[in-house]
Symmetry: C2
Subunit: 515 residues, 2 copies
């Protein structure tokens, strides 16, 4: 057995079942080993940011790492932006990167670069397997590192000779660091604060956004008068149906600051004290008021749900009746007439099937989608955690592969869509049940708002750089070019019907909604 | 004047006339300053590898740096692969990357990353301008660094507050390090070797591939019996018409090694002793025979043409008659019948207008394009220097902007095309005279050859990962989606006609040649 086969066997042994890839010459032995090792599904992406974004979507939904297989420094570089998003989402990923043979690297052949240095800024764990014998063990360690709670990016670099040489020694799965428990003193202190505080609030992120944790937080809120909020962006929020509704911290910093201005005690669960997405001249970066006291119930490495459970116990919160904190909004009716961000959100809410996975890269066009879908059937919401656009279409691939029985809806801003539009091809090849809803406002609309906020003067050149007309992007043709059936809608009624059709038929669909 | 305006003024003062960009919030003050500073053309790319690849194409043809403007670590990351190619092509680029305000960066907002660390592996020069006052001077130094012979990647990181704060202090252009001259002893030693050597050869790269240097090398070859070869991949080769024809070192290592196996003395001009693109089991990475003596006439920092001129003098090479070393091949006739890599190359050669800029990312489908066009009218050939695919379409943008009066032909493999297919939109928006010829063999065909060479067994999974059918990519629809007129051809006669039409009309065209 060569090193490549030992790598594959070690990954499978560690529960890694999918490899998203765009391989090259230095990865050929890994590719060849795929036939010999059962249990690994290889999925081709036509560019590496599709590959890493798919691994992100997979990990968010499977709570287990997929692997990637990337081609040297430039292949890795192409996938870094979505690794950045995955890192911010606490997604487990085993990122496998081929490199030149050890004796070849120092010759500075054209594709040579310092792969460890390329991986480091977006990885929690980086290692190069220098010999075939080391590969299996290193792979097992990479899997364990990726599985460390709540999920990490482990980058394993595989020189071609470590891959083709014998012997390879497959390794059994190693234990991953489990979440630790919040200490008793922390629980006691926070219980005391919540009881005594005038206007307390909980701010949730990470794994605290799963259904049970949300319900516990809502019950704690009811018992103590605490508001319950969540981060603006998060890896995965379980919502809809009977699940607890919570407030989302607004995106724009002055709105976020205002939303929590009078909070006397802010209790953090799997998140940090909120800061602005960007800095602006003469505006504070920290969003909490100076008088707000901040405490942390569960750090990222700790068990958020367990901490909330323990806190609820301590506060004497009794059993929670199903649906106690569900949305009381009526489900919107199918809209008619003008297509705009509100009617678009209504159409999405009115048609959403149970257990939909919503991937949200909607930007300004998707602004109302989250609030208006609160009363939709039970679903999951995956947000753009790292701000690196080009996340939605790849993430939808991974989510659909992790959950083949669930529909995936990608709310996709047009400017961001173009970053990784190649992803549509993989959706078609793998016959994934992904509906891509393009929010076509023909511009980088968010930048118009941001230009003003930064205090920079509006300008002709700025307007030209934010404008995506001349030529207009035609997503129906783009989808056709990659084998995805598509249609364009220009009013809200047609959108509702198109969504219904898309959910009813298997395989990917694209709907270009002209806003 | 704020820092951003001082940056723009310093760039313009340094002769930087084009900024390829996809800006975000942290770059808004740079964008706003574009209206106030004459002399800078801003060109939008829909993804950053389009932006950096365009800067590469521009720099190769203008022999002067364009700037980029990229959005934080992830925006930079998206553009690294084509920076890698540019670095290997010795292209001058001033890579400007926005970052968070200095006081915001430590708060670890979602888009935060270590931008210097992201830039470093693919840059020759990296600096962060920490204050508005420093920006102008840093920009002038970045331009000088980029202009250092033969061309370098200078990455200037611009925190948002250094951009929006006053005062900005624009700086005049600084002198760039000029090429040095090869020392007399080197010249004498190499002249002696060439006279005495049994089977000498010159291997040229970098700036030694410009018309005058090639002619001098060919004349030296005639005078001494030396063969004249060039690197397999290079930034820019001037050829066709009256220009000197030279041999190209083959791509596959055993062919390359065989081509130079009996060389007694190898003289390097702006290149290194050749090594394999990849390593393969039990094959040497160095391509020169152990008995071959190697000497360097001009290092990269030195003046290649000057060194060849001095060497020619020393060898008593007289005046060179125009066209003395031009191709003696007849110009191929317009082909008919089956479309294959040979007839495709014939159609390209038979229709090529004078002064065409050929961007070559043809891979296996373009294998015959270079030899068969040797007798075409005078043209330039830009090759994929770093092996990072997704180079062709962006490079064509930059070449067309640098040389608005010259036609650009992008020989574009289909698999590589999908890496940066977004580039077509910029070609349409800027009405560039680019003809994209898609070599559609519906596969990563090169990997089939490479799999075999690495000794890995053919496999079902490998075949699936190399295959680009199911669904087939439809480049005519893709081009239509981005506003580029397109047609599909399936025989050689139709290709010749389509190329003729594409050259005759202004603006971009795409031809999908089904191989």
């Amino acid at each position: 057995m060569n090193g490549a086969e030992s790598l594959l066997r070690s990954l499978v042994s560690g529960g890694v079942e999918v490899c998203f890839t765009n391989p090259g010459t230095s990865e050929m032995h890994f590719v060849a080993a795929l036939d010999r090792v059962p249990g690994m599904r290889a999925v081709l992406g036509l560019q590496e940011n599709v590959v890493t974004g798919a691994a992100d979507g997979y990990g968010r939904m499977a709570d287990a790492p997929a692997s990637t297989l990337l081609h040297l420094g430039p292949g890795l570089a192409n996938g870094l932006a979505n690794l950045h998003n995955a890192r911010r989402a606490h997604t487990p990923i085993v990122n496998v990167v081929g490199d030149h043979a050890v004796d070849h690297a120092h010759l500075d052949a054209p594709l040579t670069s310092d792969v460890e240095a390329v991986a480091a800024p977006f990885s929690h764990w980086v290692r190069t397997s220098k010999t075939s014998r080391a590969v299996g063990r290193d792979a097992a360690e990479a899997v364990a590192a990726a599985r460390a709670h709540p999920g990490r990016i482990a980058s394993l670099i595989l020189p071609a000779d470590a891959s083709w040489n014998e012997p390879g020694v497959p390794a059994k799965a190693l234990p991953a660091p489990a979440p630790t428990s919040a200490p008793d003193e922390t629980l006691e202190e926070i219980a005391t604060r919540l009881r005594a505080s005038e206007r307390p609030a909980l701010l949730l992120g990470g794994k605290a956004l799963r259904a049970r944790a949300l319900e516990l937080a809502a019950a704690i809120g009811r018992a103590t008068g605490a508001r319950v909020l969540c981060d603006t962006f998060y890896g995965r929020l379980e919502r809809g149906g009977d699940r607890a509704v919570i407030e989302r911290l607004p995106y724009f910093p002055e709105q976020a600051a205002e939303a929590i201005a009078d909070v006397t005690d802010l209790v953090l669960v799997h998140t940090k004290a909120p800061v602005g997405f960007f800095a602006y001249p003469d505006k504070p970066s920290r969003l909490t008021a100076p008088a707000t006291r901040i405490a942390t119930l569960a750090e990222l490495e700790e068990d958020a749900e367990g901490a909330l459970e323990a806190l609820a116990d301590r506060l004497g919160v009794g059993p929670i009746e199903p649906g106690a904190f569900r949305s009381t909004d009526p489900l919107p009716a199918l809209p008619d007439g003008e297509l705009n961000p509100v009617s678009l959100a209504q159409a999405v809410a009115a048609t959403m099937p149970e257990n939909t996975i919503v991937v949200d890269e909607g930007a300004t066009g998707g602004f109302f989608a989250l609030p208006i879908t609160a009363s939709a059937p039970q679903h999951d919401w995956l947000a753009l955690t790292g701000g690196a656009i080009g996340f939605g279409m790849p993430c939808a691939i991974g989510a659909a592969i992790a959950c083949p029985d669930r529909p995936v809806l990608d709310l996709q801003a047009d400017g961001s869509a173009m970053y990784t539009v190649q992803a549509l091809w993989t959706q078609a090849r793998e016959s994934l049940d992904v509906t891509t809803l393009i929010l076509a406002n023909r511009s980088y609309a968010i930048l118009r708002a941001e230009l003003d906020r930064t205090g920079a003067a509006p300008s002709r050149e700025a307007e030209r750089l934010f404008d995506l007309t001349g030529p207009e992007l035609d997503f129906v043709s783009l989808a056709k070019g990659m084998g995805v059936p598509a249609e364009r809608v220009t009013d809200a009624g047609a959108l509702g019907k198109a969504l219904g059709r898309a959910y009813a038929e298997p395989g990917p669909k694209l709907i270009e909604a002209v806003l």
